[in-house]
Amino acid sequence: MKSSQFKTGLVLILLVSSFILIPVSAGAALNQTDFIVDNLQVHDIPYDDGSGLMLSWKPLPKERRIIEYRVYRGITPDSLFYIGRIDVNVKTGVPGDEMYFYDIDFNYFMDTQAPARLKREKQQPKESPLYQRYPRDARITGPQLKHYDILGVISEKDYYYKNQRFDKHAEDDTTTYAGLKVRNFSQMAKKLITDHEYYYTVLAVSESRKYYPHCEPVIGIPRENAPEKTKNLFPVYVQDLNRLQFEWSLPTFADDIYYHNIYILNRQDIETFNNYIRELQELEVNDIARKADSTLTALTPQYSNPAQLIYRRYSGYPYTPSRTVSVDVTDNRIIGPKVYKNLFTGEETTVDVPFQTDQFEDYYFVFSLYDAARYETFSDPVPAEVITSDQLPELPEFEIQDRKDDKGDYNIVRWGKPVVYLTNSSYLNEKKTRLLINYEYNTNENYKIRSIYFRVFDENGNEIKLINEFYQDLKISVKIPENTVLLNFEMTFKCSNPLPEDYVIRQQLYLDEITNSLLPDKVYLGNEDLKANEYYIYKRNYTDEEFRLSKKVAGTYRELDDNIRYENAHFKLVKEFDADKQLYLVSPSFSVKMDSTGENSIGSYLYRDLQEDRLKSYEKSLLEYKTSLDTLITEEEIAQAESAVEYYQNQIDQISNNPILQQAESYGSDRARIRYLDKVRHYAKNSFEYKIVKSNGKGYFSESTIHVREKPIALTPDNVYVAHLNGLGKDHFFPRSNWFKMQMLPALIASLIFGILVYVMIKKAKQGHDLYIRPIAGIQEIDNAIGRATEMGKPILFVPGLSSIGDVATLAGLAILSRVAKKAAEYDTRILVPVRDYIVLPIAQEIVKEAHYEAGRPDSYDRNSVFFITDAQFAFVAGVNGIMIREKTATNFYMGMFWAEALLMTETGSSTGAIQISGTDAVTQIPFFITTCDYTLIGEELYAASAYLAREPLQLGSLKAVDYFKLLILIFVISGTLLSTVHLTFLINSFPEK
């Protein structure tokens, strides 16, 4: 017997291992060269800043069963590092004949997840040039840094406190750096360098993860390109305001855009201008061609730009998107507010251009993007549209507030008055006479909506219905005449703040032929089409030169939660390294805010002495230039020296007179100094001033002034930073951390009440107070069923659920078992208790044994009547079913937690003709119990029954507490419903919505 069992076991184990061998042995042998990727090409990406390349190759046919393609890049063809992969669905392969991989922008270079040391790629021969990712080891990766632009992203804490000072002592370089380990960077991102050579290769990996040989490495050189042509420019001339307004579309590649320019062009110059543009394109092509082939000659420009600059905006870094500008015309001239200097060419432009307002049709306008490589791309010239100011959208009042319940990472921008609009409709019946209409509304804190009134008119203007939506559930239903083709809606509000009498929103529903349903038309507030306009929210902090577009939102919005990232990482270029100390070196200087002109940034160093060194070197240069003034002769040189003197004087003043820097240097400890600078920088970065623009997207826009605070903030020791930052704008908003979430107040109150109830009731139960629980109907049935089994002389089956002891239902089931076992012992009827959980087993045994003792029949207790079958769910059921059939049990109890298997047991029990009583809190199983059992304890009844029987204080107390809380719920639900039915919504509104 035993040996045969052993054999069976052996066979089974062999069977298992045979499965496992299949995948291992399945790697079929095929000619390896068939798996090399074909036709790998590297292309330059157009319009970019010279850092993007695109790879393309021909995917292998799907019969090759490739699971992924891995891409490698290197500086030389003999060492290439893994940079990314493309997953493929094995079954279908790649549908097209080409697949692409982009190596663009700043993307992953290295972080702590990189391997520690240089590792060859898997399954490669010894001479293979392929390696896994760039390792963390500075000896390997360090020398690579110079082939890329590497941007280190460093958290504030790591940058300030984890750096190691590193002074270079090389002859030509005595710079001081801040050294950081790889672990101090949250990431290093790379960007390819323009005109640098890079090699790429690709390999395929098979379904069974075999790495096939890679293809021959291919060279790629990213080239600097001119910016993308701006698609749209909308110039508008507002006649009565004597103002030009411009709106344009944003570019896709914005990384190296340096200036936005707007030019004015006379109509007769258009042809010259077009020639100029054509020539620019040829020059670009020539530039790139010359880089590849140095023998080519450079083209000399023939044309000059006939258009005249009227506006220039610095784009900032990182790029600050902006879509609109307005330029005033005074006395038929456009005069710029300042001298525009081109930092690359040094050319200075003073804008003073004639603009004859009576001949505006003679003028065309051009928009251009100018990038850091001095390429400029122009839009098509367009004439201005002439309008009057009443065609401009009306700008609502707006205000900024700190959001009340956050950790200090949101400002709220609010504007305007509430809006409501219909979004959809659907017929509720076949005759199409009942219509369900969905609506949306938007409002802000200033106008809390009490009620929305919908007046519905038919096409003839007869009022059909007036609906008072005092509770806004976003849907209304209307009875409409048959064959309705048009419905007019007039919507008004009752708000916490009164609205003007004529504040009415109008909208139509019209019958749409295609969808055959009533569709909402435009929404009008007065004459304004609400959806025609959008709001652009611009913001600027103390470190930005320009306002940047924060969000563009629809015209129906009334507020915006403006997210302000709480943490501001430092972004530093990584060029140098130290192999011995495994350090990557970054600059120790960082900016704190902009100076009072908003043009230069004020910064400091991680190390105090560097700040002093800088001041000293400035003073030295200042002195040098000052003394040189006496010896210089030519006017040009003198002018240059004078401007240098002015510059250095300025810098010295800025540094030594700046209250922030002064304050910082006054700290004795370096740590305190850094902590202070960190705080100021954090404040400067996260304080914003706002303005909003409302526009139709085509140059019809109105721009607000910068938002002004009604009351200036009082200075306290806490906001001393504000004092130091004054001068750039008093109306910056700094989001503050809050201390209580008002929205959670109801939960707090309810939890407190419930907590006290539970505590008190359990205490009471423990003290032995008599807590009343109504008799549960099923308990009566339990006794009857046991009696029946006794009459028939057959055993009772009791399954205490399949769950573990941690389940409340199991505990309840066991409490009932105690009662059943006792009764059974009294009647001297056999009880069978199969158990699935091995921890429940001894507990159940103990309970049954005790029950027999209590009944005075210790002799009749059989230890084997409580037994473990198996812990496998369905096998357990098979076991239980076997018992039912063999023993012909007269009564079956199922009390506790059951899952899908419940049905299998009760079905068998029902077919053997047993009386079945069940109880569970598993909601999905209750229906099956109800239909297959004679009596079922539903959900909480199970707990109640066990508490009733066991009278265990913990259960009893909490049951009572839940009961009283339920009473509270009942009272609130009933009174809340009645109140809201009679339009009193204060109670319902005091409960949370989500």
Binding site: Q5, T8, G9, L12, I13, V16, S17, F19, I20, P23, V24, I67, D87, V205, E207, S208, R209, D406, K407, G408, E430, S737, N738, W739, F740, K741, M744, L748, S751, F754, G755, V758, I762, I805, G806, V808, D871, F874, A900, L903, L904, T906, E907, S910, S911, D921, V923, P927, F928, I930, T931, T932, D934, G939, E940, L954, S958, A961, V962, K966
Partner: protein, 207 residues
């Protein structure tokens, strides 16, 4: 002491969490982040629990040679082999490890519960009885919902899907809301009892 200290941790830390729920301030978020990194570090060890309990159950069966002990050997063997393969060849798409998952674990997992379709059918035939008025109503509602779910229902009469939706949207909604309120309250009570240190079964037995 062996019980007291853990209990104090639960209660103390638990009340900090209560406070965290109501306080949005930076310090509260920082506390949460600290807890998060720590529980992230604890989490991988929890799998040991499952493996060990499985191992204990089955190894006792094998050593005691209880009936059908061979199947326990199969369980332990497949456990060991699967994880070993995972460590040796990795767990990416295309490894033997994934093959085991896709062709053994996945199909069997899917099949286990599909057995129930057969059992439901036989129960429908043999056990779903309109024993009482309540059970009759239940079965009737069930039949309407079942018909309402399938395309045929709407082809027989448009009232079937509509009635089925009405059952779901009205009486079912009322029933489930009331039951959910009870369950939610029960859940809150259980959490509360743990928080107040009244309920301690999670500490396990022993002193």
């Amino acid at each position: 002491m062996k019980r007291q200290i853990p209990l104090i941790i639960v209660i103390g830390l638990g009340f900090v969490f209560v406070a965290h729920t109501f306080i949005p301030a930076k310090i509260s978020v920082d506390f949460y982040e600290w807890w998060q990194t720590w529980s992230k570090a604890i989490s991988p060890f929890a799998v040991v629990l499952g493996v060990m309990s499985l191992f204990m159950v089955h190894s006792t069966k094998i050593t005691r040679k209880v009936s059908n002990w061979q199947y326990s050997a199969v369980t332990l063997g497949s456990l060991a082999i699967t994880s070993l393969i995972g460590f040796v060849w990795g767990t990416q798409e295309g490894t033997p490890f994934m093959w085991l998952f896709k062709n053994i674990q996945m199909p069997m997992g899917a099949t286990m519960f599909s057995l129930l379709a057969f059992h439901i059918a036989s129960a429908a035939y043999k056990a779903f009885r309109a024993r009482s008025l309540e059970a009759t109503v239940l079965l009737l509602a069930a039949c309407i919902v079942m018909l309402g779910q399938v395309p045929l229902g709407s082809q027989i009469s448009k009232w079937i899907p509509e009635t089925s939706q009405w059952i779901l949207n009205v009486p079912n909604l009322a029933a489930k809301r009331a039951i959910a309120l009870g369950v939610g309250l029960g859940m809150t009570a259980t959490s509360l009892k743990i928080l107040l240190g009244i309920e301690r079964t999670y500490l396990g037995g022993g002193d």
